[in-house]
């Protein structure tokens, strides 16, 4: 009977209920989208390997390191392998066609990153062709690139047009693996620098170290930095996770703003549902008085109002969650270049569900109090 009353009471004013459901649905959709965006921001951190350390210039990432450091670092006991990569900062045809592009140490790079899946044939083709490049599947799809296509990149840090031939298209091992990157031979970059800007040659952006055991990582980091202490280019070595976290921290204010907006959405949601519940309960005050007259106590009345409120929030929440997936597909099409994975995390869905429950309960609190505290005779409207 209770469930019957929840549903029938909620359906009493179809337009009001529909509008409330839409409002709750939109709020939960927005909450889910923002939560997913924050998750996507952290995707790089989540995908980071525990075995990899990143060595960068001690002052800033914008400063490069001498290539000669490689052999010194390789000599450390804890280091199993080392590779390097350099941010190129080019764009394809127009500035808006931005994506991550790196000059990498081709022979070792893909061994360090097993999450970038590349066929043996494509890897061999890439290694053979010094003007070759490897691109992510999402990036290739974005620009319609196929293996064998020539891709001109306009350099920003390294001026000029740099044309590469696509020799491989990698796919991500996990959903969170970034498939929007572009890798080419560092040798090509270095050769041109030797010709035109010798002081900038033989330098790399970062070294990526693979340690033998993850638990050795903290000591290995200290050992690397100790090697170059008091040198003209001191290093800062950190885990890949910490390195990625550094990028996220740069956007901390934006992320904080997104979280505040999420909270504001929950408050708006509460106001909408509370308003609906207050109106509904006020209209039915006499019916609640009749129920009290018949002998129904505070428990039943609370369950009646609370259940309706939560049912309303749950239905709206389900609507919003169902809309979240198509909305994310649209979002992924426009933001896929910036975020490797745009899909709602279980935590985000759980938080959305929890928000619905809490809002449903809070929205019912005031009407429940009003019903329980109004004397039967007053609610029946007959005194005299």
């Amino acid at each position: 009977m209770l469930a019957k009353l929840w549903i029938r009471n909620a359906a009493r004013h179809p337009l009001r209920t529909a509008l409330t459901l839409v409002a709750v649905g939109v709020a939960i959709l927005a909450f889910g989208l923002l939560g997913t965006l924050v998750e996507a921001w952290h995707a790089g951190v989540a995908a980071a390997s525990a075995n990899r350390l990143v060595v960068r210039h001690g002052i800033s990432l914008t400063f490069s390191l001498p290539l000669a450091y490689r052999e010194k670092i390789r000599g450390l006991e804890a280091v199993r392998a080392i590779t390097h990569m350099t941010w190129f900062g080019g764009f394809f045809r127009e500035r808006k066609n931005f994506f991550a592009n790196f000059a990498v140490e081709a022979p070792t790079f893909f061994e360090h990153y097993p999450e970038y899946r590349l066929s043996e044939a494509e890897r061999a083709a890439f290694l053979r062709d010094r003007r070759g490049c490897v691109v992510g599947r999402a990036l290739a799809e974005r620009f319609g690139w196929k293996v064998g296509d020539a891709v001109p990149l306009q350099g920003t840090i390294y001026p000029g047009v740099w044309t590469f031939t696509v020799r491989g298209i990698y796919t991500g091992r996990d959903r969170g693996t970034d498939e929007n990157q572009f890798f080419f031979h560092w040798d090509i970059l270095n050769e041109r620098l030797l010709e035109r800007m010798p002081p900038r040659a033989n330098r790399v952006g970062i070294f990526v170290i693979e340690v033998r055991r993850a638990e050795d990582a903290p000591e290995a980091a200290i050992a690397v930095d100790a090697l170059f202490r008091s040198s003209p280019a001191e290093t800062r070595t950190e885990t890949e996770r910490a390195f990625q976290m550094g990028f996220v921290s740069m956007s901390a204010a934006i992320l904080a703003a997104i979280r505040v907006v999420s909270l504001v959405i929950v408050v708006i949601l509460l106001a909408v549902v509370a308003n609906t519940m207050i109106m509904s309960v006020r209209e039915r005050m006499r019916e609640y008085a009749v129920l009290k007259t018949l002998g129904f106590g505070p428990g039943f009345l609370t369950a009646l109002i609370l259940g309706e409120s939560i049912a309303l929030c749950a239905a709206g929440g389900a609507l919003g969650t169902a809309a979240l997936y198509p909305a994310l597909e649209i979002l992924e099409r426009s933001l896929g270049a910036y975020f490797p994975a745009v899909e709602p995390a279980p935590e985000t869905l759980l938080l959305g569900g929890l928000a619905c429950l809490v809002v449903g309960a809070l929205a019912a609190a005031f009407p429940v109090r009003a019903v329980l505290s109004t004397p039967i005779v007053q609610a029946l409207g007959r005194v005299g």
Partner: protein, 238 residues
């Protein structure tokens, strides 16, 4: 009903006042009343005389400022709010002027509602509700919501709801006030039958002398005191 038997409803020195706009309005002042089991008792009086207030006090919907109210041997003025709620569920059936059915429930579900408090299983609840509806002659309207029933039919459903838990006391506050003459007649027939056939104690509040005429006892409440109805009733209605 025996005049010598101890009263089933007994009020002594009952006072009740309300505050309106900063003023205290005294409605009942030291009122005493006795109603016997199985008695059909009608209470009349002008608007605002305190008829409904008295009914509410006897039914345990409100509390007096002073005085004692004993119903079926229970001193209801001494019960806690929770005890009073449980007592009401077991002992009192209510019939209101405007029926007060739950609009989203069918006739059968409305009648079944008070049985939720009895601990009966769903099947037995249904059987009891169907029986009560049959008693008021509305079995064929069991699946109709109140909006699809006439005023008289809604009031019959309300009577079935009042009866379904088999309470010894039925209070009816202007039950014919919103009905035409024919429908009112049917409702009064039913109430009369409840007292005569089922031994229920009926407390009826009414403005209608024709309705009051059906009762065993008629009292008029005027200026907070009960007077004999024969002094005020139209001779035609006596």
């Amino acid at each position: 009903m025996s005049a010598e038997a101890s009263p089933w409803v007994e009020l002594e020195g009952v006072c009740k006042s309300f505050r309106r706009g900063g003023e205290t309005l005294s409605v009942l002042e030291g009122l005493a009343l006795r109603v016997h089991r199985g008695e059909f008792f009608a209470l009349m009086g002008p608007s605002g005389s305190g008829k409904s207030t008295l009914l509410h006090l006897i039914a345990g919907l409100d509390r007096p400022d002073a005085g004692r109210i004993r119903v079926g041997g229970v001193e209801i003025t001494e019960l806690s709010e929770t005890e009073l709620t449980a007592w009401r569920a077991r002992n009192v059936g209510f019939v209101f002027q405007f029926y007060h059915l739950i609009p989203v429930l069918t006739a059968l579900e409305n009648v079944e509602l008070p049985l939720l408090l009895t601990g009966l299983g769903r099947r037995r609840r249904r059987a009891h509700a169907e029986l009560a509806l049959e008693l008021v002659g509305l079995s064929d309207r069991r699946d109709h919501t109140p909006a699809r029933l006439s005023g008289g039919q809604q009031q019959r459903v309300a009577i079935a709801r009042a009866l379904v838990t088999d309470p010894p006391l039925v209070v009816a506050d202007e039950p014919t006030g919103d009905l035409d003459r024919a429908a009112a007649g049917e409702i009064l027939d039913l109430l009369e039958g409840l007292a005569a056939g089922l031994g229920k104690t009926i407390l009826l509040v009414t403005h209608d002398p024709r309705a009051a005429r059906r009762a065993h006892t008629v009292r008029v409440l005027d200026k907070g005191a009960l007077i004999d109805a024969r002094e005020t009733l139209d001779p035609e209605c006596r």
